[in-house]
């Protein structure tokens, strides 16, 4: 028997996403944001205040603007990572589609991994389109080339992968709506934890705040990976002088990347094992 399972399920999932216009809707929404960003950059970059600013300040302003654009992209990719796959397991289990699929000679793990692979590819393409849209808009209309884009993009994809794995782990037993709620709550916890750490460190010099932030980041590493991406994107001076949504004051260590990878593997393994045991 040939090991067709993963690729067949992945192709089926990609075809379904295309036919149901899920990818089209996501891309249309994302490109609308990029378009608004491009027009804004064109208008802002042409103002006298921008033109007359000293070169260092001018460059810093454009970099801030780019990061602001990527901040919006980050929210879109977080929403996509939760919403796109939210019913892929739970919905097909509830409708009975999964019975037909699981009765075929493919391991149940191939069904989970094939679907995961398909959504990961979708998110990677979506992320690439949006990030490149922002970066190229800035290059074209602002004349500024954002450095370290591939590294930041890889970290943002890792953040999306964390959420994707959580939605897959939840989708085995939870209903579609409950799974969506859990997915967003998981991100919200990480987001709040991140801000507690940022504000605590800068405003209160609080060690406890850093501990709280670290513990939350370990339990829900999505926002920590985004802060690492911010750190890669921002100029070094930013983290020293400013506390803004677009800067990382308290930067997670690079070990967080490995922790996050291990987290994804653990969540996905949980999904595979649980789905393998689930009554269909």
């Amino acid at each position: 028997m040939r090991p067709y399972g993963v690729s067949v399920v992945a192709r089926l999932t990609l075809l379904e996403a295309r036919r149901r216009r899920i990818t089209l809707a996501a891309l249309a929404g994302g490109l609308a944001c990029v378009l608004i960003f491009a027009v804004s950059v064109h208008l802002i970059a042409g103002t006298a205040a921008m033109r007359d600013a000293p070169l260092v300040v001018h460059r810093l302003q454009l970099q801030m603007l780019t990061i602001a654009g990527l901040y919006a992209v980050n929210f879109l990719i977080v929403a996509a990572a939760v919403l796109l796959p939210v019913d892929t397991l739970s919905g097909e289990i509830a409708s009975g589609v999964m019975q037909t699929l699981a009765a075929k000679p493919v391991p149940r793990s191939s069904i989970v991994l094939g679907k995961f692979l398909a959504y990961w590819i979708m998110l990677a393409v979506y992320l690439a389109v949006l990030v490149l849209g922002v970066v190229l808009s800035m290059r074209l209309f602002g004349g500024f080339a954002q450095p370290h884009v591939p590294a930041a993009m890889a970290l943002m994809l890792l953040e999306a992968t964390v959420l994707l794995s959580i939605v897959f782990a939840g989708g085995v037993h939870l209903s579609t709506v409950a799974n969506g709620v859990v997915g967003f709550a998981f991100y919200a916890v990480a987001f709040i934890g991140g801000w507690i750490e940022q504000i605590g460190v800068v405003a209160m010099r609080s060690v406890d705040a850093r501990y709280i932030g670290t513990v939350i980041s370990l339990a829900s590493p999505a926002d920590a990976v985004w802060r690492l991406a911010l750190h890669v994107l921002e100029p070094p001076v930013m983290s020293q002088v400013l506390l803004t949504p677009f800067s990382a004051v308290s930067v997670p260590t690079p070990a967080m990347v490995w922790w996050t990878v291990a987290f994804v593997i653990a969540a996905l393994s949980f999904a595979v094992v649980q789905f393998g045991r689930r009554a269909l």
Partner: protein
């Protein structure tokens, strides 16, 4: 395991919390047999099928399907399954549906395409081959589901209510497909509420009641399924004893005497014997008990809705 046994279960049991869905299911299904699985709603028929397919783990008991343990991958490659209320991604066309399932079985591309053409024609969907399932009627969807169950030319096919949602023509089509499968030597496990269809297609049926197998009936050779009714002038003990040599379950009610026999060939012998005993015969009638009567008798009044 018997060499010709395709399915063999020993005390298979499934419990959901406190509810016992299937209790002590022990059955053997032979190769090439069209096997009917009957029972009222909630009797545990679908749960049994799911256990045999590996979709549901039994609470206890053992079973082997095609010589393999339940749910084993290699065996699943030799099994076709049409679930009750078949559903699949409705954005696919019928042709794509079959292609996906052919790939899931690991079939070669050329074989898949060949099978698709043959099956679409067989289930009368060739004109709708490139229409999306979302545009299909319930009956068309069920026929597409039947085709996906047969794409890999399986040795064993589970059909769970295959005619639900089908019009009379669709039902005839399914019946013909089952007959063709039998001719090809494919074993068919049929779960259906439509007793007429079961009667027309199955070699043997079993009845499940409240999770237990309560009765088995061969339909090809139904044994003493013919009921003979005699209207005679006396039905004393001697007459009744004599009639027992012609059939089973001899019982008298006034002038009427009923007995069960295997064939109507016995009727002239009965008549001759009665005349020789000086018994006057006013009427002789016979009829074969329908599967529905057998079903109602076995299920009992307690299972009737309402």
């Amino acid at each position: 395991m018997h060499p010709a046994a395709v399915i063999e279960t020993f005390g298979l049991r499934k419990q959901f919390g406190r509810t016992v869905a299937v209790e002590d299911l022990t059955v053997e299904i032979r190769s090439g047999e069209v096997f009917g699985f009957l029972g009222p709603n909630g009797a545990g028929k679908t749960t049994s099928i799911k256990m045999l397919l590996g979709l549901l783990a039994p609470t206890s008991g053992e079973a082997r399907v095609l010589g393999a343990r339940l749910g084993e991958r290699a065996a699943r490659g030799r099994i076709g399954f049409l679930p009750e209320h078949f559903r699949f991604h409705d954005c696919l066309t019928a042709r794509e549906l079959l292609r996906v399932h052919g790939r899931l079985y690991g079939l070669e591309r050329r074989r898949i395409e060949r099978r698709i053409d043959a099956l679409l024609e067989r289930v009368d969907l060739q004109d709708a081959a490139d229409r999306r399932l979302a545009e299909f009627s319930k009956g068309m969807l069920q026929r597409a589901g039947l085709a996906q169950a047969l794409i890999a030319e399986p040795e064993l096919v589970f059909l769970d209510e295959p005619t639900s949602g089908l019009d009379p023509l669709g039902r005839v089509l399914v019946r013909d497909v089952i007959r063709e499968l039998r001719e090809q030597g494919t074993t068919v496990f049929l779960n259906s509420h439509l007793l007429g269809e079961v009667e027309a297609t199955c070699d043997r049926v079993v009845l499940l009641k409240q999770g237990r197998l309560v009765r088995e009936l061969p339909l090809q050779d139904r044994g003493a399924a013919l009921e003979i009714e005699l209207k005679i002038d006396r039905s004393d003990a001697q007459v009744l004893e004599g009639l027992r040599s012609f059939g089973e379950e001899v019982r008298a009610s006034g002038e009427l005497v009923r007995l069960r026999a295997s064939s109507d060939e016995v009727i002239p012998h009965i008549a001759r014997w009665l005349v020789s005993q000086g018994v006057a015969i006013y009427a002789i009638g016979s009829r074969r008990k329908s599967l529905e009567e057998w079903f109602m008798e076995a299920v009992g009044d307690d299972q009737r809705p309402g």
